[in-house]
């Protein structure tokens, strides 16, 4: 029986890994096609800032430079797929031949710092508050937490960001309102640089966190609200378990399934960053890079970013599937 159970689990794991790989391949191909459907010509966009007359000859020269004069299918597609399979994400148009992988690696730390930290704080606070609110439904904590959470959930993070800038940067002057660090911070020592970076990080992290907290509270509260009405909770109460024992041993674990789904999905988006918040704070992360690449129709960079995003979401889903198996063996 044990061998059979282990075999089923192995089969389950193999199936979801295969599904993840197939999804990733589809994402790679779709990435190539989707961005080319958007109207716009990279060759024209590269010359958009020109302050002198641009001739058709110059546009054609740009097109040839980046291989855009070759047929989309099969030449460009084949070239892209074969390079991607070898781990080569290509070269940026906008950034004049810089390797896409270098550009992404350059921006990822800023995004991980911003989105990662925001997720961590939001998960900790949001899930805790949601669980408490769900456990004590109808109480003052529940009413206040739910009200505030719904308000935060429905407020666009970029708007929160703008309010924070006005309050803490413009009016109070406590914190910088833009950028990841001050120019010249590199010359004030490691502690000075860290402190400077931390100060720049506070407002954008707060903007993203506030938006996410609402989301976590709402989901965790709903999950907990369902669990507290279950028969086994009534049984546990009848057995004389304390509130804490019931919460930690029975309710919490069962309420975690939808929360884990949300966490893993959101973690998948960590690498994508918070595009609008990054724009508000001029934060040099993947989100800003996406906007720059999109404005320039920089296909290789867009393909690289979305492949990474796709991979991270597929990976997060993979993790969710595997964790489900641990949390609830029935899903195997």
């Amino acid at each position: 029986m044990a061998g059979g159970s282990g075999g089923r689990a192995g089969h389950h794991t193999g199936r979801i890994i295969f599904r993840a790989a197939a999804t990733l391949l589809m994402v790679a191909i779709l990435n190539f096609l989707l961005f080319r459907v958007i109207p716009g010509d990279p060759a024209n966009m590269l010359l958009a800032g020109a302050r002198s007359a641009i001739t058709i000859h110059q546009i054609e020269a740009q097109r040839q430079s980046w291989g855009l004069d070759k047929p989309l299918i099969p030449n460009q597609l084949f070239s892209y797929v074969s390079a991607t399979l070898q781990g080569d994400l290509g070269y940026s148009f906008k950034f004049r031949g810089r390797r896409v992988s270098d550009l992404i690696l350059e921006r990822i730390p800023a995004t991980l710092a911003l989105a990662g930290l925001a997720q961590l704080i939001a998960i900790t606070i949001g899930v805790t508050l949601g669980i408490i609110a769900g456990w004590r439904r109808g109480g003052a904590v529940d009413n206040i937490t739910t009200g505030i959470s719904l308000a935060l959930y429905s407020t666009p993070p970029f708007w929160l960001g703008m309010l924070l800038v006005v309050a803490f940067s413009t009016m109070l002057g406590w914190l910088p309102g833009y950028g990841a660090y001050s120019a010249g911070a590199a010359h004030v020592g490691i502690l000075g640089r860290l402190s400077d970076h931390a100060r720049h990080l506070i407002l954008p992290v707060l903007a993203v966190t506030l938006g996410l907290i609402g989301q976590y509270v709402v989901v965790a509260r709903a999950a907990m609200s369902d669990v507290v009405t279950e028969d086994y909770i009534v049984t546990a109460r009848a057995k004389g378990l304390t509130n804490n024992q019931m919460l930690m041993r029975h309710a919490f674990r069962n309420a975690m399934l939808p929360v884990v789904t949300l966490i893993t999905l959101n973690l998948g988006y960590v690498v994508a960053g918070a595009i609008t918040v990054e724009s508000v704070f001029a934060w040099p992360g993947i989100g800003s890079l996406t906007v720059e690449a999109l404005n320039a129709r920089d296909y290789p960079v867009l393909q690289g970013i979305f492949l990474l995003l796709g991979a991270s979401i597929v990976f997060a889903n993979l993790m969710a599937d595997l964790i489900y198996g641990v949390l609830d063996p029935r899903v195997r």
Binding site: P39, I54, S65, E106, T170, G179, G192, A282
Partner: protein, 560 residues
Amino acid sequence: MTLNASTQEVWFRHRRAILKAILIGSTAPLLMSSTALASCGDHVAQIAGILAPDTMNPFATWSSFWPTTFTYDFLVGVDAQRHSDRKGFAEEWSVAEDSLTWTFKIWPGMKWSDGKPATARDAAFTYNYLRDSIGKPDELNIGWNNTGGLELVEKIAALDDETLQIVTKTPTRWPVDNTVMIVPEHIWKDVSYADARSTFRNDPPLVGTGPMIIAEFQQGQFARMTPNAYFRTGQPPIAGFVFSFFPSADSIAQGLKSGDLDYGMNLTPAQWRDLSKDDGIVVGQARIEARNYLAFNTASGEGAGSTNALQDQAFRDAIGYAIDQNLIAERAFRGHADPGLGLVVPVAKDYYSDLADIRRHFDLEEAARRLDAAGYKDINGDGVREDKEGNGFQLELITGTSSGTMETPIAAVQLVAGWLGQIGIPIAVTQLDSGAVQARTALPSQGGGKWDLYIGGIWLSPSAPDLLVLGQKGVRHNRAYWQNAKFDELAAEVAKTAQLEKSQQLVDEAVRLIYKEAPYIMLAYPFMLDARRKDCFQGWGTEDLVSMWSYFPFDRMKAM
């Protein structure tokens, strides 16, 4: 006692939370103490604009005028012709009577920022480096430093360290009008054309002759400039400046208010008005070469619009009477623009004309009368005019989505659509992002066209050839697809004219021709809106706080 007991109870119940609060609170001084990286005391100015330079290589991109203009000089360029105290690489220049031979005197004893002599040989190298690439697979024709205009040049040579001679094939003002940035031969001589037009990043610290040298470039964030110790008129007095790059003007306006920024450009009228109420801030509005216009799709055949009327001069001319440029400048631009008129912008004073004898005046009844006379009447009485094929007008007007200094505000689009609706020409407005606008307004041979009206903007140099570019055949900027042999002939002649007076006559003739033909209706000449703080630095400009064409005022600005 009761109080003490209560305090103890609170402590025991909440000791963890209190300890956490103390711990977090202890980090506050570190975070809040403001390490003063941006302050008056360091004498480093903080400036910002909406831009996204991608490389510091002027041969590979158009996007890095800012900040490279502070490091590299033009030989002459725009500002040196307008202001005697904003010279470039050449201190003086003259043209021989044959109008072909130009002589430039380079600043004696000038040095690059690395201490090596900066001579006429560097200027000759820069131009010849470009010229020699012509016709090669890697021709340097895609960036700020490009081969445009060099086809008119016969020879470029350094006669000695201080004398550069440019001999042209035909008379032309290109030798003084061109905006090629002069680069040091000892840095660039080993850079291949293939690298120069793409992967060579020209990483900081750059070597230039401008007052401020790019010492650090963080893509998507900022460029840090340090003063050039060898600048020809002496090392600039300030300790440098940081040029921050923003995707929108909101952060710029907030940065000015909070004191994080000393200067910001690309402001919107609303932000400008708000900042103007701040006692610590001076706002500015500079006339630039930007033009916002309404273009008619005059193409026939491939890429043509929905009606042949767009190809009819009488139809376009009549529409011109239905546009109130004064109201557009006043309402849509909130007064931060000159009303549109002809092809030439007011700031190009040498060529500007008020076209008093031929200009149209806003009069909807006159517009309607002219449409009637041209055969575009409302025959069936439904309030919508019909074209000569009997089809009711329903024109598509395309425009961009962003607003601000360079883009036409949507309020202008609404005004135009409203006026045309009043004279029986209904308009459907389609807003597109910049990429889609570029795609739809590309030349029909490149897949563009099939729209009726387009409202957009352009900002080129004030040189005579660039002033006429909207009407020229084979040029991307000709969004109206208008073709006129006489106009092309005049434009070609302008490019081959060195004498200012003759050039002025030719430009005026071309401007009048295109005004009467009306493929474009100029809506406005928008200003660049900017602002500076009063507290840290002095020496900003008056007409323009910061030049849009040179290093000014960072060669002379002082800390207070």
